[in-house]
Amino acid sequence: MMTETLRTRVWPVVAVLIVIIALWYVAALFMNRSVAVNEAELKGENLTSSELWMKSFTLKKPLLPTPDQIGVEIWKTTAEMKVTSKRSLVYHAWVTLSATLLGFAIGTATGILLAVGIVHNKAMDKSLMPWVIASQTIPILAVAPMLIVVLNAIGISGLLPKALISTYLSFFPVVVGMVKGLRSPEVIQLDLMHTYNANKTQIFWKLRFPASVPFLFASLKVGVAISLIGAIVGELPTGAVAGLGARLLSGSYYGQTIQIWSALFVSAFLAGALVFAVGATERVVNRLMGVKPEARV
């Protein structure tokens, strides 16, 4: 069993990873070479080509930092630093994560409520759905600064404005998925409820909602990932105080490419962890709901 998973699942990923890392070093060499040459000329150094290689891989402000530089930077700013420090990536990651989770929670709740309304009310179906879709045609980069500024003006700042941007992004897949999910029961399953003279609340809790659970989880996986993006985007116009977005922004102000890439990697890791957490919850729920094993994802 173990060796089987190792062979079929772990190996391909590792192989691709090795290729990517190798290509990365090659790219770093090409991109950073000119920077290294300039720097050497400036200092009047006379470098052999192998020294130039080494220099390209160890620049303080490279065009493209190497994986090991990023790894060291992440290690230094997480494991070797107190989490309360303003330079700790754990601290910044937590700032972003808390906004993400709050926004995701509000977004999911909003999405479910809207879907319930749309499914149960013809007028809401007609009037709401176009707006829900229209909301997503406005680029988030345009909405985010506006929202932050407007909320700041009325005295709301900090976590909530960022969370609301996550909400703005994440409610959409939930609405769409849940509308589909709540409408997914077959006619025969609904007819059965009708023969019991079940009321709408009973039909909702005993049929529509359980039937929509697979759709909900598919939406949540998308929703949680874009919630994180929303929170990061929300941090960009706040004047770079804290959060992964702030690290990205201040890094680009000062040409700290290693800092930018570290923040990028941590956010990618966070996104992966969040999607994994949703997936793990889904597996538990699937087991409780008796989903046939081969149908489980």
């Binding site: 077959e186 025969i188 399953q189 007819d191 059965l192 409820m193 009708h194 023969t195 019991y196 003279n197 079940a198 009973q202 005993k206 049929l207 359980p210 039937a211 659970v213 709901m289 008796g290 989903v291 046939k292």
Partner: protein
């Protein structure tokens, strides 16, 4: 008056027309039928003759467009609201996220039975359909025949005296079917329910019924109603008796007549 009381389903000149995009479809016309308490009535006829539609009209899942239909002396809607019938669909229609016992509990939960009462009824009906021991299984863990039995148990779990069954064994092989037919007869004898049963099979109709309603299509109508002369007690080999074969013959003729009328 006494006659009227024992009438469970009464159709008088019943008609039902579907309005579709391709114009009206007459699913039923001029249907007259009396089903008495304790009857086992089979509906037989070619595809599209309105058997399902008639059952659905009784169940208030469709509305008659002509004539009159009474269920337990009331309108189908009131009968449905009184939870007067259990409906067994052609597909088992179990909810896949519920275990078998929870599926049987579904109508009981909706109708507000106490937890204790639910438990007792689940145990009783599962025994009735020979499914004891499968309480905690999910539907996909059961064979098709077992799933169909679970759906019958679900329809039996609450106190409806009328059982409407739309080709419940249609998708099953003959051996399983024979077995379930026998069980159904036993169950009918034990519970004294009234059963309306749709089938495509002549032997099944004759074996089970006290009354056989032969129908024919375009437009859907009743062409013959046969009162069975077979005793209520029916071993499987009754199907080889001359009496049985005579009834089957009459059903077959009724079906053929319906067709020639059409050509």
């Amino acid at each position: 008056m006494a006659e009227n009381q024992s009438s469970v389903v009464s159709a008088k000149n019943l008609g039902l027309t579907f309005q579709t995009n391709d114009g009206p479809v007459v699913a039923l016309t001029g249907v007259n039928l009396e089903v008495k308490k304790g009857d086992f009535v089979s509906f037989i006829g070619p595809s599209g003759c309105g058997k399902t539609t008639f059952l659905r009209a009784i169940a208030d899942l469709e509305k008659a467009t002509e004539g009159e239909l009474r269920v337990n002396g009331t309108t189908p809607e009131d009968a449905r609201k009184n939870r007067a019938y259990g409906y067994v669909f052609q597909a088992a229609a179990l909810y896949p996220w519920r275990t078998i016992e929870k599926n049987i509990a579904l109508p009981l939960e909706i109708m507000g039975y106490s937890a204790q009462e639910q438990q007792a009824r689940i145990a009783r009906t599962m025994e009735l359909v020979n499914l004891t021991g499968f309480e905690k299984k999910f539907p996909w863990q059961l064979s098709g025949g077992m799933q169909q039995r679970a759906s019958i148990a679900r329809a039996l779990a609450f106190d409806a005296d009328l059982l409407l069954m739309d080709e419940p064994f249609g998708a099953l092989d003959e051996i399983v079917r024979d077995h379930l037919n026998q069980q159904l007869l036993e169950l009918w004898a034990r519970t004294n329910k009234t059963i309306c049963f749709v089938t495509h099979s002549i032997p099944e109709a004759v074996y089970l019924s006290t009354k056989i309603v032969v129908m024919s299509p375009r437009p859907g109508r009743v062409t013959d109603i046969i009162e069975s002369t077979l005793p209520r007690e029916r071993p499987l080999d009754i199907r080889e008796t001359p009496e049985f074969l005579a009834i089957a013959h009459r059903v077959r003729e009724g079906l053929a007549a319906g067709h020639s009328y059409d050509d």
